[in-house]
């Protein structure tokens, strides 16, 4: 038991330390920027700090609900990246898979053959399939042509973005607003009464789907023969081949699972009743890249991703409320980026802790 606790501490401590360092840095920026901003009083700075720390609790249940909703997509892309990492792949293409999945979901939700909830289910499944197929291209190139997945998935991000723009314009386009037409309310993600617990928020069951997905991936990686194979391939492809594991097939399947998760993320964003639309702008979906930070911050542990995803949203919402204290949105962005940037120190802290432990014994 004691062993388990020290192990847990060892796992969590690096994340907490890098978060702490990041927050400290954030405070410095807040104070410095406050000193140069003549319109801000010391009170503003103090309340700004407060808002940052309170994050998704600033406004009670409504902002908490918003936080859960906003965390959903980045938890899923985070799990996508984390899962790929654990199997030895760097999925930088979650953005493209997210967009492709999002489009598939919107398209099916609008044009699907079923009445009511049936369309929603079909839309979610389609999104996962679309994401999986998009990632499969990368996996196939890696497994059979030894093309580095980083390069091919970055390219697939752009191909995905432009292809979706093209498809949107030709199928479900709202010319006036330059975006997709709204999803019929019957095909949106059910809220199951969550909006009465968290009033004025967009929360729906998507958050729980994300948590369940993270748990499933955790079990898959750590408890099953399939996870045993995938991790073995990730660590040492030669030894896996020697042991009779079909490593090429596993690379493709790994990428497809990662893609399906990112696709699911897209579906839950665009099927929300709050009305998110794919806009025709040449910008890659940020959820895919935030997923990388989320995964890193959680040391690629799928369960840890739930918490790191919530943490990043917590900061984002804190930043949002800081603007009420006359903080420029740019300053808020700098603070958030700095904290996320410091999450890269996690590996450093991990080694630091290990060294300390090793040295003492």
């Amino acid at each position: 038991m004691k062993n388990k606790i020290t192990q847990l501490f060892k796992n969590v401590a690096p994340s907490l330390m890098s978060i702490g360092l990041g927050l400290l840095f954030g405070v410095v920026i807040i104070v410095v920027s406050g000193m140069f901003n003549e319109r801000q009083t010391y009170e503003d700075i103090w309340y700004g700090l407060n808002s940052l720390v309170l994050g998704m609790l600033n406004d009670g249940l409504p902002s908490l609900g918003t936080g859960l909703f906003r965390a959903t997509p980045i938890i899923l892309t985070g799990v996508s990246v984390a899962f790929a990492f654990r199997t030895g792949l760097f999925n930088i293409g979650a953005s493209g898979q997210f967009t492709v999945g999002g489009f598939a979901a919107i398209f099916v939700a609008i044009k699907g053959p079923f009445p009511g909830i049936g369309n929603w289910i079909l839309a979610v499944i389609s999104a996962m399939l679309a994401g999986a197929l998009w990632a499969a291209v990368v996996g196939l190139l890696k497994a059979y042509r030894n093309v580095n997945e980083v390069i091919s998935s970055i390219m697939m991000n752009y191909i995905g973005m432009y292809l979706v723009q093209y498809a949107v314009i030709n199928t479900v386009f709202d010319y006036v607003k330059n975006q997709t037409v709204p999803v019929p309310i019957v095909s949106t993600t059910p809220t199951l009464g969550l909006t009465s617990i968290f009033p004025n928020s967009s929360v729906d069951i998507g958050f729980f789907i994300a948590v369940i997905a993270a748990i499933i991936i955790h079990i898959l990686l750590n408890k099953t023969t399939f996870g045993f194979e995938l991790k073995a391939c990730g660590f040492n492809q030669h030894a896996s081949k020697y042991a009779g594991i079909n490593s090429k097939r596993n690379i493709v399947i790994s990428m497809m699972i990662a893609g399906a998760l990112a696709g699911l993320s897209g579906a839950l964003v665009y099927l929300s009743a709050s009305g998110n639309h794919i806009e025709i702008v040449d910008v890659l979906a940020t959820e895919g890249f935030t997923g990388i930070s989320v995964a890193l911050l959680a040391l690629s542990n799928p369960l840890g991703v739930i918490f790191s995803g919530l943490f990043i949203v917590h900061l984002q919402l804190g930043g949002f409320y800081m603007q009420a204290q006359k903080f420029a949105p740019q300053v808020v962005e700098i603070i958030l980026s700095a904290i996320i940037y410091f999450s890269a120190f996690i590996v450093f802290f991990k080694e630091f802790i290990n060294k300390k432990k090793g040295g003492k014994k």
Binding site: T224, F235, N236, H238, Y242, G244, N246
Partner: protein, 511 residues
């Protein structure tokens, strides 16, 4: 009292790691101008002791005196300033740098911030000429042989004017000729007044060059002996703690039906001629066939072809069934086991725990999983059993991460996994490479036991002693072709050498 006759004095050094006492009050005293061998089994604590001397670890207890002065070696730079240099077992070289660049790396001369190589070049060239090292300073590391790379490491120490040179198992990676060259260089170095610590577990090398020898066993200091008056037998007894047999004890083989049969097997390599060319032979149940040959004559590829790691032409039959188109797993299921040449590349997933590695090939069998979920209890039970049976030593038992284990114990994990599968055909490629005499004896015993149980064993070895001792039949491979089929009892080592160099072909194998 130290009278100044020792260049290194390590007194009562202790070092603990979680679960393991790596060094327990160890003494090491090296005289000036001697080659001092440090002998011990895998995991006896030799490398740890040298890492302490080189400043990579801090000891928990004990003191270090260099030239009679007490020192505190906190990192390798301090060691370097004290004149201590080390040739690591795995070389620390930049592959796309030239020899000269590697030598001066970290100790560059510069003029106004611009690299000045001319002085360094002269100094290195003088050293090369002085010690007759015969090396091209402008060749890139990736283009020179392992033996040459080792000379670069030696030059690095000489360039830094190190007087105390540590060689960590320097012969493990060398060919017989290269070992001879290295011995000459070492002797030349002590003639110049340098002192050498020579880590090894090869007794004949110690007899050949060393003056004195410190023996460690399981982290403890056992003895320090004068090599000239100590027999090899005595050295091995001190090292292992019991008498070791150098000859392999075995009954006469009772070969039965053919278990492994190759018919005209060829392996192609893009842009090359066949690396394995039309090879045909068979291995019967209950016999050990050794594939002898100089490294790089197609042994590796032939074994890869049999185990299914590379595609091949021709037929490969296991118990009469052609497996040449089957997957690796199918072949394993038909009774093929494979102790691979490179245990880090193929044999183990180093990041996995010991217990995971023991089921690396069997995790999917119903014994270890149900409905796709691993049975962790069964896996643990299996590995605990193997640890006990094969005496695998590790820090934390079954959950130990494989990377943290010593080479010999890693090899035991592979051996345990492969042998416990009760194979019909066992491929063992250099099964004793890098192991000490005690472990070698053990591995040989296990292989013979498999033979006596009716397994067909194919051993690939570069060591003539092993080939002569272990085999019931010898096949010689030269440039991808089998050139002779010999009976070890009627063959001398010299004769074997002639076949191995391609100077002669056996009866039935003429061109």
């Amino acid at each position: 009292m130290s009278s100044g006759q020792y260049v290194i004095e390590m007194n009562q050094i202790s070092k603990f790691f979680p679960g393991i006492i790596a060094n327990d009050k160890v003494d090491l005293k090296v005289k000036k101008g001697e080659i001092h061998a440090l002998l011990g089994e895998n995991g006896a604590g030799k490398s740890t002791l040298m890492s302490i001397l080189f400043g990579m670890y801090q000891p928990e207890e004990g003191e270090i005196l260099i030239n009679g002065k007490k020192v505190n070696i906190t990192n390798p730079n301090v060691a370097n300033d004290l004149g201590i240099g080390m040739v690591h077992q795995h070389f620390k070289l930049v592959h796309n740098f030239t020899v000269l660049q590697n030598i001066i790396l970290g100790a560059e001369d510069s003029k106004f911030g611009v690299l000045d190589m001319s002085k360094a070049r002269k100094k290195v060239a003088d050293l090369v000429a002085h010690y007759k090292l015969n090396i091209d300073l402008d060749e890139k590391i990736e283009n020179i042989t392992v033996g040459m790379q080792q000379r670069v490491e030696i030059l690095k120490m000489l360039y830094r004017d190190n007087d105390i040179l540590i060689f960590d198992e320097p012969t493990a990676v060398l060919t017989v000729q290269e070992i001879g060259e290295l011995m000459k260089i070492m002797k030349a170095l002590i003639a110049e007044g340098k002192s050498i610590v020579f880590i090894t577990h090869k007794l004949n090398e110690i007899k050949e060059v060393a003056d004195r020898c410190t023996i460690l066993r399981k982290g403890k200091f056992i003895d320090c002996v004068d090599v000239k008056v100590t027999s090899t037998q005595e050295l091995s007894r001190l090292m292992v703690g019991r008498d070791v047999k150098f000859e392999v004890d075995k009954e006469i083989a009772q070969p039965k039906e053919v278990a492994l049969q190759l018919k005209n097997v060829s392996v192609l390599k893009a842009g090359h001629k066949n690396v394995v060319n039309e090879v045909s032979f068979d291995v019967k149940k209950g016999e050990i066939v050794c594939l002898a040959g100089i490294d790089g004559n197609g042994q590796t590829e032939l074994i890869y072809a049999i185990s299914g790691l590379v595609p091949s032409k021709g037929e490969i039959l296991i118990n009469g069934q052609d497996v040449s188109k089957l997957s690796v797993r199918k072949r394993n299921e038909l009774g093929l086991a494979h102790i691979p040449e490179d245990r880090h590349k193929h044999g183990l997933v180093l990041e996995y725990s010991l217990e995971y590695n023991t089921v690396l090939k069997d995790y999917y069998r119903s014994q270890y999983q149900s409905n796709g979920f691993l049975k962790f209890d069964e896996i643990r039970k299996n590995s605990d059993k193997l640890i006990e049976k094969f005496d695998i030593r590790s820090g934390q038992g079954s959950p130990t991460i494989s990377r943290s284990m010593s080479g010999g114990n890693q090899q035991k994990v592979i051996l345990a996994r492969e042998i416990s599968s009760n194979p019909e055909v066992l491929l063992a490629v250099q099964p004793t490479r890098g192991l000490d005499v005690g472990a070698i004896e053990y591995v040989h015993k296990q292989i013979i036991e498999q033979r006596d149980k009716g397994c067909a064993v194919l051993v690939v070895s570069l060591e003539l002693d092993e080939v002569m001792n272990l085999s019931d039949r010898i096949l010689v491979i030269y440039e991808g072709e089998i050139v002779a089929d010999l009976d070890p009892k009627q063959t001398t080592r010299e004769e074997l050498g002639i076949y191995m160099t391609g100077a002669k072909r056996g009866v039935g194998y003429e061109k």
